[in-house]
């Protein structure tokens, strides 16, 4: 049964309960009127007793129905809250699906980086951020793309060694870093960002996404953002790594092809 059908079913039970309660109240009133009428018409004591018993029975039934009515109302509230939670989950899954679909839709390195930037702006809600890649020969992390240098100058020139400072440590340990501005205070600097999430393929860190400022309308990261951000970073890492390998292999192929062409023409 779908959520909507369940919601309709609840509403149906709810309305039936309401109608039944109203009907009981009307019946109750009718009987009270009848008792009063019989008393004035000096009905027999047996008849009076029968009507009194019926009245007690109906009053009890009314009380039970009202109790059930309240219970259904509570269930309905729970259901409405659950529905909102499921909506949010659906939203996040849709975001994740679209983001991963886009990330793996190309093997062009620049295009992949462009898609990562779009995701960080539009899904995470970042205004100033940088994407750093780790040079495995020099063990240095360097900016390869950024956005919002007007609000955080120097984003294009970030360079830090593996294991040094906040960024170097995130790359070394593979653990995400988040700072709560309100609680921890202190200015956000190039070395101390709002968030740094490693681009990891299993345990192998290839770079970082570093966030310095969120969009004006986004006050802080929400609980679900942390999870979403990590999942997106994992997809981004694979996409960046694959496209990088592809570009390298393309270059090598071109070199080999040129060499073969040269050999063919000279022989």
């Amino acid at each position: 049964m779908s959520d909507e059908q369940r919601a309709e079913k609840f509403l149906e039970i709810f309305n039936k309960g309401k109608e039944f309660t109203e009907e009981l109240i009307r019946e109750n009133q009718r009987l009270r009127y009848r008792v009063a009428a019989l008393e004035t018409e000096s009905a027999s004591p047996e008849e009076m007793q029968r009507l009194r018993d019926q009245l007690v029975q109906l009053t009890e039934e009314n009380r039970r129905i009202q109790q059930r009515f309240r219970e259904v109302e509570e269930e309905n509230k729970d259901f409405a809250n659950r529905y909102i939670e499921i909506e949010e989950q659906n939203n996040n899954l849709a975001n994740l699906y679209v983001a991963s679909y886009q990330l793996h839709s190309t093997l062009d390195f620049r295009e992949v980086i462009q898609i990562v930037q779009e995701i960080v702006i539009n899904l995470i809600g970042a205004e100033a951020f940088a994407i750093l890649l780790l040079d495995e020969k020099t063990n240095e992390l360097k900016t390869i793309a950024f956005e919002g240098e007007d609000v955080q100058p120097g984003l294009g020139q970030i360079s830090t060694r593996l294991g040094e400072g906040v960024l170097g440590n995130v790359a070394k340990t593979g653990e995400s870093y988040y700072v709560n501005q309100d609680v921890e205070g202190g200015a956000i600097t190039l070395e101390k960002p709002l968030a740094a999430v490693p681009l990891k393929i299993k345990e192998h860190v290839i770079g970082l996404i570093v966030i310095y400022r969120l969009l004006q309308q986004k006050d802080a990261f929400s609980a679900v953002d942390y999870e979403l951000f990590s999942l997106l970073a994992a997809h981004a890492a694979t996409a960046i790594f694959s496209s990088k390998l592809y570009s390298q292999s393309e270059r090598k192929l071109n070199t080999i092809q040129s060499f073969l062409d040269l050999l063919t023409t000279t022989s």
């Binding site: 909102i84 909506e87 949010e88 659906n90 939203n91 849709a94 975001n95 699906y97 679209v98 983001a99 679909y101 886009q102 898609i115 779009e118 995701i119 702006i121 539009n122 899904l123 995470i124 809600g125 205004e127 969009l215 004006q216 309308q217 986004k218």
Partner: protein
Amino acid sequence: MGMENANFLVVEDSPTMRQLISFSLKRFKNAKIIEAVDGVDALKKLSGPEKIDLILTDINMPVMDGLKLVSLVRQNAQLKNIPIIIITTEGAEEDRERGLALGANAYISKPIQSSHLIKTISELLSV
């Protein structure tokens, strides 16, 4: 105007956002989604054979931005009644006021919540 069989025009330069918005719009039964990459492309699609029921546009786009698009649509006798939703990273109150003053029916700041977008569209299309 019903919410079923509606034709939506999504104007957004980011392919990721276009896909994300289009994905959300699939909630509407038999919805047809037409995509445009900027304001000029949107005007071309609006003058095409498809009757557009609702426009969802970004602000910051190359060639022609979303605010210019809203303004041109509102000045066009044939198009002026199409509901427009602005979806943007610009979250300042003055940006919102400017967008609405130009004639947009709703203004949604990114990152978008699909449920909020669906609710806004449902309200606009059920009028």
